[in-house]
């Protein structure tokens, strides 16, 4: 699926959550906290989004704990950051224009 602009909320928040190395469980918790429990990422949604973003080069594999074979950590890439910033610009435009309502 094409996740180009506008980004889905899930993609937007996952990108934000991997600005520092983060693993699956950490991403879900961070997104949950950031949105006050509004955006909940299901395991399947997260798994699909991570794989799509890995193949697009928006995020990369940061580390893999070989011993437990668990807890892969993911990190935002330069492309990912550009995509995110482009989206923020679009959102800012929305907010700026929204002010005309008053």
């Amino acid at each position: 699926m094409d996740y180009s602009s506008p980004l889905t909320e899930a993609i937007f928040y996952i990108l934000l959550a991997v600005r520092a190395p983060n693993h699956g469980y950490g991403i879900i918790q961070d997104v949950n906290e950031m949105t006050g429990g509004r955006v909940v990422l299901g395991p399947g949604t997260l798994y699909g989004a991570i794989n799509t973003m890995l193949s697009k080069g928006w995020i990369c594999l940061f580390s893999e704990d070989k011993e437990s074979r668990k807890k892969k950590e993911y990190l935002l890439t330069k492309i990912g950051r550009e995509i995110f910033e482009k989206e923020v610009k679009r959102l800012n435009e929305l907010v700026e224009n929204a002010k005309k309502m008053d």
Binding site: G24, G42, P43, G44, T45, R69, K71
Partner: protein, 174 residues
């Protein structure tokens, strides 16, 4: 306990597995419509069914990822996987937004489409055999294959309907 059931609709199957769990029976194994249950605390687990992208794929990666999130892969049958999570560990829904749900239903449609084509071909072959020979054995198979084809067709329709509903939901919020 062993039960035999044929499900074409994974959403309905999930509901049934939850009901069984509430009655104190947790799914242990699945093969060709045969469900093996073992006793569990009533309501101990919630169940979800997922469809993997390909046959073999990177299954260990998937299993490890899910385990890290407190989700246990109980059984894999072909591309289908049965997952469970302790109810005490919070709600369990594999797909939480419209986009990823649509991707899943599209995957299911594509999965069943192949079978629909095969079943339909067999159905017409049996039908012509029945008409040509008048043999009632062919007739029985014709009815059987027709019923299976229709069941698969229903699933495809249902998935299409669900995608349509999700699209409407999406356009309302964005």
């Amino acid at each position: 306990m062993l039960k035999f059931k044929l499900y074409y609709d994974k959403d309905a199957e999930e509901v049934w597995l939850r009901e069984m769990s509430l009655k104190g029976w947790g799914l242990k194994k699945f093969f060709l419509g045969f469900y093996t249950f073992e006793p569990c605390e009533p309501g101990e687990y919630n169940y979800q069914i997922d469809l993997l992208d390909n046959w073999s794929g990177n299954k260990s990666d998937y299993v490890a990822f899910m385990e890290d999130l407190g989700v246990e892969v109980i059984e894999q049958w072909w591309r289908w996987v049965y997952l469970r999570k302790k109810a005490a560990a919070g709600p369990f829904e594999m797909y939480t937004d419209a986009e990823s749900k649509i991707i899943l239903y599209r995957k299911i449609i594509n999965f069943f489409k192949i079978f629909l084509v095969i079943e339909a071909i067999c159905f017409f072959m049996e039908l012509t055999a029945t008409i040509r020979t008048g043999n009632f054995v062919f007739g029985i198979f014709t009815v059987l294959l027709g019923a299976i084809s229709f069941a698969i067709l229903t699933v495809v329709w249902k998935c299409k309907w669900k995608i349509e509903q999700l699209r409407n939901e999406e356009s309302r919020v964005s």
